[in-house]
């Protein structure tokens, strides 16, 4: 038979077992033998501190009242853990590299080691956790009453004890355990191996207990899962989800996902107590699996309870009452122990986490700032202060939970209380995500966001939970403050028609995130914030172990040792300094207070008293000539400027290089032109010299020989005449060409019928051809073609081409073939002959000055060598093209291409423009 005494006795015995377990584990961990304690399995099991008595009892109650809704509490964390690679891994890495001690420390450290933010987060965490602790106390007292009351009628022992006394007793017991194992010493990383071992053990107990009850209900009491559902349907229970998967479902998913990261106890276990990042690899799937097994039997137990228990039974206690109902007292006792485990593990971890936060972020800063402060005071032992403040915090936090329990005592079920807590700590989520991923988030933004979210939560969710206890709160809820309906806690800003939970979660998280973003955008980061934000956001990019530090100390190594000793204790301070000395290869006396040492010391201290306090403390000691962060950033900025300046210089020099290159090119071009000019001059001299020589010799003959025959004399004279004509022509052409090249001459551009010009040129050349007895073959001709230009000049081109073709043709049956056509918007004339053609090496230079297709031709048939060059210039001036068509067999074919005008293209006809 289970009596209350027996039940309480077993609970005490169980706690005793935990004591032994924790003690042994701690002892072994201290001796470095606890490899097992640092396994992924223990880590995963300890994370299941998430499953409190809320899970154990409350989930069944929640399933009985709201059907599927309870599942959301476990699916949220499942999603978060399944995605461990992205958020949790980063958190753990940051936690390990920067020695983070709590969620408050994390946020404070990220946002410039802000003490204010840390205080705010700590307060919210304490207030948010209080209902949760009350929930555990409520669950334990109720369960003791249930197990005890059903079975015993005899008075005696504790059975007559009231709720309050029972809860007080439990709270005291928990406080004792937590103080003993949670505050044994100020640890390097706030890891508590004894506690973790106990938590992992409790995780197994509660899982086995719940599964046992589930198996009993489904397979022994009911006879199969189908029978459970059938019976529930018979009793008129709605077994379907109905409209469960609505806004409330989404809100709970979000809340639970946030809670598994932000709840102080979850953070403590997942991040702070983590001994190896790789353990997440296991926890990523094993913790969701644990959650799934935990909730596998919740629904059947709830349905079975609803079907067989009397109508008034408390569904929260089905886990206990069903075995009792079936007379399975020992199963009931086991279930009670399971529920007790889940409650105690939560209380232990939560109070440890909160006490660390309170001592590091509230007590330490006050102590550091107080006039008799311990910062530089004599003989004070910081670690003792820390431990004592933690012990007191644990007691105070449990007491607060007790008070909340008394105030709200009889109101409602377990699950709503838990959700209040979840929603409270979920306010850390937006700043936390910003801390990990948003480089520009500022401390002002984070403080404002957290404060706003907290205020909305407190108003719309925390306050209403006192409704049943306080008539004032009830009236406030009904009419709003001072009758302002607009601000009613459960219909803020006139938003009605939502479930109170959805309403509060929406407003608090929305306003929280909005404030964070807006204020961050409006404010600027301090230097320290910038540094810390880089450390956080880029934690995977930095080589680990390096730690930025900017305090340049005038403090001696002894001063530093003094500080370390008082916070860490003599032994660890010695260890730290000797380790440092060994690395440097110097004796301990020879240690220099380098920035590196100060940085390491700061990190070490941060692991014990939080980043903000450690920073303040060290700054005080080394304040001699501390390089302020602003100064450092200014130096950095200057460096940046120098870099920019040198980049500009580089750019300039690149520009100079390219200019010099261009100059070189221009120079080369000039030289080329110069040599061309020399060539031209020598060619001109050469060309001029030949006729001059001949004129001179003939005139000398005429002068010296009076006895020449008249016939001979005439011949000589005519030669002289011819040669002077040739000379004149040559000089004319040179002038013409240079005028054309320099574009000096005024140039008439009028529409010209090119076809007519071609005919004219043909007519001019006709006699020459006949003289040479060769045929001019006329090919295809277009009827008329209007181009823009100078008719005489164009005729000059055609005549030149025709003359060349006729003159240099040595074929037995010489033929010149002329044809014209339109190709797109161009007029094309081709002059082809069957002469010797142009040798491939000459094709390029045929249009150059003084080049002749055939060298060494006799003077009479040779031209000046300028004809093609002039033609080229003319055609170019008419925007056309003169080219040597690709050889097709024998002979050469010159092609003139001129753009057609006429119609649209013939704009401004007849306008004489000065061509330049």
């Amino acid at each position: 038979m289970l009596t209350t005494n027996f039940v309480v006795g077993s609970a005490v015995a169980y706690v005793g077992l935990l004591f032994v377990l924790a003690y042994v584990s701690d002892y072994r961990a201290r001796r470095g033998e606890a490899r097992f304690l640092r396994s992924p399995l223990i880590y995963t099991l300890s994370i299941s501190v998430y499953c409190t008595s809320w899970t154990f009892y409350g989930a069944v109650g929640s399933a009985a009242r709201g059907g599927f809704e309870f599942l959301a509490i476990y699916l949220g964390p499942t999603i978060v853990f399944v995605g461990w690679w992205y958020i949790l891994r980063k958190l753990v890495r940051i936690g390990r590299t920067l020695r983070i001690t709590s969620v408050a420390d994390l946020l404070s450290s990220r946002f410039g080691k802000s003490g204010r933010l840390a205080v705010l987060v700590t307060l919210i965490a304490v207030i948010g956790t209080t209902p949760y602790i009350a929930l555990q106390l409520k669950a334990i007292t109720t369960s003791i009453q249930v197990v005890g009351a059903l079975n015993t009628s005899q008075a005696g022992g504790l059975s007559g004890a009231s709720d309050a006394t029972l809860a007080l007793g439990i709270a005291a017991g928990m406080a004792l355990f937590t103080i003993l194992f949670g505050t044994r010493n100020v640890d390097a990383k706030e890891q508590h191996h004894g506690v973790v071992a106990a938590i992992a053990f409790e995780a197994i107990v509660k899982l086995v207990a719940l599964v046992s009850v589930g198996v009993f209900v489904v397979f022994f009491a009911s006879g199969g899962i189908e029978a459970v559902y059938d019976r529930a349907v018979e009793k008129g229970v709605d077994i379907f989800s109905g409209d469960t998967f609505g806004p409330r479902w989404v809100s709970i998913l979000v809340l639970s996902g946030a809670a598994v990261i932000c709840l102080p106890r979850q953070f403590q276990i997942t991040v702070v107590e983590n001994s190896d990042e790789d353990h997440l690899r296991t926890a990523g799937w094993a913790f969701p699996a644990y959650l799934m097994v935990m909730s596998l039997f919740t629904m059947p137990i709830a349905l079975f309870g609803l079907s067989v228990m009397p109508a008034g039974a408390n569904p929260d206690m089905f886990v206990l009452t069903l075995p009792l109902h079936a007379g399975q007292n020992f199963l009931a006792l086991f279930a009670f122990i399971g529920g007790f485990s889940s409650a105690t593990s939560m209380i232990i971890v939560a109070t440890i986490a909160l006490s660390i936060m309170v001592s590091n972020h509230i007590v330490m800063p006050i102590a550091l700032r107080s006039p008799i402060g311990i910062g530089l005071g004599e003989g004070q032992d910081v670690s003792r202060l820390l431990l004592n403040s933690r012990r007191i915090s644990i007691a105070v936090i449990l007491f607060l939970g007790l008070v909340y329990f008394w105030l709200t005592g009889d109101s409602g079920a377990l699950a709503p209380i838990g959700l209040i807590s979840f929603a409270g700590v979920a306010q850390f989520l937006p700043p936390l995500i910003a801390a990990l991923y948003w480089r520009e988030a500022t401390v002002k933004g984070a403080i404002a966001a957290t404060a706003v979210g907290f205020a909305v939560w407190a108003w719309s969710m925390f306050l209403p939970s006192f409704q049943s206890a306080s008539p004032a709160v009830a009236s406030l809820m009904a009419t709003g403050p001072f009758g302002i309906g607009f601000l009613r806690p459960e219909a803020l800003f006139g938003l009605t028609g939502f479930d109170p939970l959805v309403h509060s979660v929406f407003w608090s998280l929305f306003l929280n995130s909005a404030t964070l973003v807006l204020v961050s955008l409006m404010t600027r980061q301090s230097a320290l914030e910038r540094i810390q934000s880089t450390l956080f956001v880029d934690v995977f990019r930095r080589p680990s172990g390096e730690h930025a530090n900017f305090i340049r100390g005038s403090a001696t190594a002894n001063d530093l040792f003094f500080v370390a000793q008082r916070v860490l204790g003599v032994e660890r301070a010695l260890g730290l300094f000797e380790g440092f000395a060994r690395e440097r290869g110097v004796s301990r006396a020879g240690i220099e207070p380098t920035p590196e040492l100060i940085g390491r010391l700061e990190r070490e201290l941060a692991g014990s008293i939080g980043a903000a306090s450690a920073h303040v403390m060290l700054s005080k000691v080394v304040s001699g000539d501390e390089v302020s962060l602003e100064e450092v950033m200014r130096i950095a900025d200057e460096t940046q400027q120098v870099i920019e300046y040198s980049q500009q210089l580089e750019q300039k020099s690149a520009e100079l290089r390219s200019t010099a290159q261009m100059l070189q090119q221009a120079n080369a071009r000039l030289r080329e032109l110069d040599s061309q000019k020399d060539d031209f001059l020598s060619q001109v001299s050469h060309e001029v010299r030949t006729p001059m020589t001949s004129i001179r010799s003939f005139s000398e003959i005429l002068l010296s020989h009076d006895d020449l025959e008249p016939g001979q004399r005439d011949r000589f004279l005519s030669t002289i005449h011819n040669e002077s004509l040739r000379l004149t022509k040559l000089l004319d052409e040179i002038l013409d060409l240079s005028a054309l090249e320099r574009g000096e001459r005024e140039w008439e551009r009028v529409p010209v019928d090119a076809e007519e010009t071609l005919s004219r040129a043909l007519a001019v050349c006709e006699p020459l051809a006949r003289q040479r007895s060769m045929a001019i073959e006329i090919g295809d001709r277009v009827r008329s073609a209007t181009v823009s230009g100078d008719a005489d000049r164009l005729a000059q081109v055609f005549i030149n081409l025709l003359t060349n073709a006729i003159k240099y043709n040595d074929a037995p049956a010489p033929v010149v073939r002329v044809s014209s056509m339109r190709v797109r918007r161009n007029y094309v004339v081709e002059v082809a002959d069957n002469g010797p053609g142009i040798a491939p090496p000459d094709r390029k230079r045929i249009f150059e000055k003084f080049s002749r297709g055939r060298r060494g031709g006799s003077p009479d048939e040779g031209g000046s060598g300028l004809g093609l060059a002039i033609s080229m210039q003319i055609v170019r001036r008419m925007n056309g093209k003169l080219e040597l068509a690709d050889g097709t067999g024998r002979g050469a074919c010159f092609r003139v291409t001129l753009p057609l005008v006429g119609g649209v293209a013939g704009r401004q006809p007849g306008v004489t423009e000065k061509a330049r």
């Binding site: 995605g83 989800s241 969701p288």
Partner: protein, 81 residues
Amino acid sequence: MPEHRRIENAAFALPVFGAALIFPPIINVFNVEVRLFGVPLEVYYVFGVWMLLILAAFRLSRLLPRAERPPDPPADGPGAS
């Protein structure tokens, strides 16, 4: 895409799709008042998705690259003291 990037992307997709599957509206597709062996269909669905997520996470946990482990910060544990 290098192999480890692929796996990391999968590690990102997993929670996203997992969330999509248990958020409305998809989850309401199975909310049809049908019983299979006496148990409502949505129970199979929720636990099925849960199971799949666990299995996929298990598989990924084997494949995801092992980070070069940051050395334990100095002066930590018995070795340094």
